[in-house]
Each structure stands twice: as structure tokens, then as C-alpha cells.
């Protein structure tokens, strides 16, 4: 009797999970499928909301539609081939985000090694400070960020975003938590064998953290790939804005195009995500508590 009840509970649980999962997945699926609709179909579906002056048929109500009447790649042709705008913005995004990811992880791994290997009152004070800094909302660091960029003459250049990005304390924190799980005996053993600190770091520590490095890289990538506030404030030049900002300013007549470009924009995160999901989950899971 009891067992029967339990299987029933599990079926119910499964259905509930499935419903939730569908709700969570809906925007992703919607973005992708709607990118294969023609602009006129999009307009007839969502015209009520976005259009101000479009001709043709506009339905009375909004039609949330998943499957296009006719699959077309015209949006992609418009966005990627007919005009270079989107490709340039995509490139802008890449040259902002890739250096941030690479150097943030590099700087952070060295710092995390230091926090792991040596402890003392001053250093744990500094670590606590990093935690606080990590938690500050962007608007608090906005002013300092802006001031420094102005002093250094970085305003309106990519460096105004890249440099603060490299030193963001987020990955220092996560990596330190990870490295502190490496058995101390490993480090001791290397030391006895006469390895220098740098050798211990590169040969013992880093190989142990491979999954953490990967997961942090993904998290940092996704975070900066979708940035909107920083470029809006630090880059006045419309030419050098990343695609995340440009996409958000797309006008009402081009919803279909927006979906198509959003899909293109999603590709790098999607690839990283699917390729490294196990690492990502492991990396997130191992960061579970704040104090190391």
C-alpha cells in the first residue's frame, strides 16, 4: 500500500517537474522557433504590441506561436548577409568578452592560489574584502569605475570595460573555494620534492582545478556576454557597442530580426553550456558556502 502511494507520488512529481521545465524552457524555444518566421508572420502575431505603423494584416489579439507557418531563413539573411551591422556588433562583443574571460581566470587563479596556500590575519581580511566587493551591485561600483576610466583616459575605449572586468573579484572567490579542497598533502609532497611555488601552482594545483576553471570561464562569459549597463555608460560611441546593447535597441518593425540575432547571439553560450554542462554543474555545486 505504502509503496503504491510512493510510485503515485513520483509520477505526480514527474509531471510537476515537467510542467515547470516547460515553463523554464519556453523563452529559449520561442526565441529559436520565432527566428524562422517571416517578418510579416511576426507582425501578424505580435503586431498588436510592437507595431505603430506597419501595413498588412495585424491580428486583433496576440498570438504566442511556437511553430512557424512557413520556415524561412530570411531573417538570418537580412541580419548576417545584407548588412554588416550585426556581424560588427557580434565581433565587438567577442573582443570585449574573450579577453575578460581569459585574463580574469588567469589573474584569479594566481590570486586564489595565494589565498589557498598562505593564510594569516591580513590575508583573510583581504579575502573578506573581496567577498564584499563581489556582492556590491553594479551601480555602487559604477561611479568609481567611471572616475578611474576618466583619469586613465580610457573612457570610450574598450579598455574601460575590459580592465575592470579582468579584476572583478567573482572568480577569485569561486576558485579559492575550489582550491581549498585540494588535499594539503599534495602540496606538501611537491614541496618536499623541491618544487618551487610556481611549479606547485602550475603542475599540482591547476590540473586539479580543471573543472572549476572551465565552469568559472562559462559563468564569467555568460555574465559579460549579456552586459548592458557597462557599455551604455562607458562607451558613448554607438559603433563599438556590443551586440547585447544593440539587440536591446532594435526597433519595433524588426522583431523577427531581433529573434534571429538573439538566436545567433545565443550560439556561443549554448555551445559552451552544452559542451561543459557537467563541469558547470560541478563548479556551481562546489561553491556552496560563502566562508571557505
Amino acid at each position: 500500500m505504502r509503496k503504491k502511494k510512493r510510485t503515485f507520488g513520483r509520477v505526480g512529481m514527474f509531471i510537476l517537474c515537467a510542467v515547470f521545465a516547460l515553463m523554464f524552457l519556453m523563452p529559449t524555444v520561442l526565441t529559436i522557433t520565432n527566428s524562422f518566421m517571416s517578418e510579416s508572420e511576426i507582425q501578424s502575431n505580435y503586431g498588436m504590441i510592437f507595431s505603430t505603423t506597419t501595413g498588412g494584416y495585424v491580428s486583433e489579439t496576440v498570438n504566442l506561436k511556437f511553430i512557424p507557418d512557413r520556415v524561412t531563413i530570411s531573417q538570418y539573411v537580412t541580419g548576417l548577409i545584407k548588412s554588416p551591422d550585426y556581424l560588427i556588433k557580434f565581433w565587438n562583443s567577442l573582443i570585449l568578452v574573450v579577453p575578460i574571460v581569459i585574463f580574469q581566470v588567469a589573474v584569479a587563479s594566481v590570486a586564489a592560489y595565494s589565498f589557498t596556500r598562505w593564510r594569516g590575519r591580513i590575508r583573510s581580511g583581504i579575502f573578506f574584502f573581496y567577498v564584499i566587493l563581489m556582492l556590491m551591485p553594479y551601480q555602487v561600483t559604477l561611479v568609481p569605475n567611471y572616475l578611474v576610466s576618466r583619469w586613465l583616459g580610457l573612457l570610450n575605449t574598450r579598455w574601460a570595460i575590459i580592465l575592470p572586468g579582468i579584476f572583478a573579484p567573482f572568480s577569485v572567490f569561486l576558485l579559492t573555494k575550489f582550491m581549498r579542497r585540494i588535499p594539503y598533502s599534495l602540496i606538501e609532497a611537491a614541496k618536499v620534492d623541491g618544487a618551487s611555488e610556481w611549479q606547485i601552482f602550475t603542475r599540482v594545483c591547476l590540473p586539479q582545478c580543471r573543472s572549476a576553471l572551465y565552469s568559472i570561464a562559462i559563468l564569467v562569459f555568460i555574465d559579460y556576454w549579456n552586459m548592458v549597463e557597462q557599455p551604455l555608460i562607458l562607451l558613448q560611441d554607438a559603433e563599438s557597442q556590443p551586440l547585447s546593447v544593440f539587440l536591446s535597441s532594435i526597433n519595433a518593425g524588426e522583431i523577427g530580426l531581433a529573434f534571429a540575432m538573439a538566436t545567433v547571439y545565443m550560439v556561443p553560450s549554448l555551445l559552451l553550456f552544452l559542451h561543459g554542462e557537467e563541469y558547470l554543474v560541478e563548479g556551481i555545486a562546489n561553491s556552496g558556502s560563502v566562508k571557505g
Binding site: 504590441i49 564584499i132 561611479v143 579582468i166 536591446s248 558556502s289
Partner: protein, 295 residues
Amino acid sequence: MKRRGIHLSEQKKDFLRSLCFLSPSLLGVGLFFILPFGVVVYYALIDGVGSRRFVFLQNFVKLFHNSAFLMAAKNTLSFSVMAVPLAVVLSIVLALMLECRIPLKSQFRTFFLSPMMVPVASVVLIWQVLFNYNGTINEFLALFGADKIDWLQSEYCQVVVLILFLWKNLGYNMILFMAGLSNIPKELLEVADVEGASERYKFFAIKLRYLSPTVLFVTILSLINSFKVFREVYLLTGDYPFEKLYMLQHFMNNTFRNLDYQKLSAAAVIMAIVMVALIALLFKAEDWFGKDVEG
């Protein structure tokens, strides 16, 4: 004198070594975050970039009489008070649901994480389609005879943002809790089963106890993310949204654009102080709840 290096004690050498490894990060953080924050504090205490006269707390007093600031602070507070606990509770529920040994568990995990990747722009488009006056939600509710509302311009606007926030962050939090749950010693739960403990007892007395560090972590993360949701709010509603959605970030953005550095710096300092106090409080709370679980 010349052999000074050799006389350094082992401890001091270690300190120097650790500094070597830390220096790239420390220099960057110092230059881009700490030093300028000092300047922000200074700005908050003077009356203008021109005259540079110290006025101490006057900027803060002015700020507390500023109705836009008060409204923004109230809205931000009410949103976070609503969003953070909900994010924690719901992600525990999701994690417990997935723990029930249901099929396709890892697929579900992926689905729940998928909102992380969706570009902000398309999130905003979809939310508009859903919550517009002529949008899908209203149409759906009309089936039950409900009246149409313009969600983002109504009393419920914070709820719309809340849904967005939960949708975006629950998956990540859920994984943290799943990891926390898997760290609970199995023997403990088995003993509880043998003793005939109820599910409720097992949850509150055992699981929640062991999850308390994770609860703290998720609370802090959700707090950060409840500030980050401003990005979507901004893109959905622009500089001056419906009154209830006017957040501190709007206030700071708008003040920034008006170049009112004194007001802005004072607001940044207040926000920083509140955050530090809050985090210290949460750390204390963890010490209190988690002391008999972790060494």
C-alpha cells in the same frame, strides 16, 4: 646589511611569496575598485567638485529628504524582501522534487538552467508579449472572465519582474541545493527512517540543518541577482518606469546622467554600508545556525 635577505624569517618569506601571487589581482582591484571608492567617499563629503568644501553629512541629510531616493529605496527594499526568500524557498522545493529519483533528472536540470543563456533582449521581447495589455497572459485570464490589465503599469508590476527574476535564477540555486542535499550523511537519514521519523521532521531537523551554509550562500547570491534584474527592468520600461518599479538603480543612473556626483556618491556610500551590514548579519546568522554541523 648585504645578507639581509637570508635573515628573513620563514614566516616573512611566506608573506612575501603570498604577496607575489596576490599582487596582480590586488593591484587591479586597488586601482579599479578600492582607490576610486575612496574618492567616492570623499565626494560624498564635499559640497561640490568645484569648491571642495567639507560638508560632512550634509549630502546624506539632503538625500534622506529626496523623495525620489526614498521611493527608490522603498521599492528596492520591498522587491528584495519579496524576491530573496522566495528564490531560496522555491529552489529548495525544486531541488527536493528532483531528488525524488524521478526519470530524466539530468535533462530537467539542464532545462532549469537554460534561462541563463537566453539573451536579455529576447527575454525582454518575450516578457512584453506575455505581459502587455494585449498580451498572452491577459488573454488567458480573459478565459476566466478577468479584466485586462497593463501589468507593467499596475500594482502588480513588481510581480512581473519577480517572475522574471525567479525564472532566471531558480535553476542555478537549485543546483546549489542539490549539491547540499547530496552532502548530507546518508546514515543520518537512514537512522531517522528506522526511528520512524516523519518526512517533515526529517526535512526540518536534518536536511535544513545541513543546508544552512547553502541557504546563506543562495541568499547572498539572490540578493546580488535581485539587484541585477534591474537590467531587464530598465530594458522593459526605460528611465522612468511606473512608480512602483522605480529602483535605486534608476535613481543612480538618472543622477549619474545629471552629473550630480555628490548625490550619487552619497547614495553609493549608503548602499555599500547597507550591504556590508547585511552580509555581516548573514555571516553571524550562519555561525549561529551552522555551528553544530561544520567544524
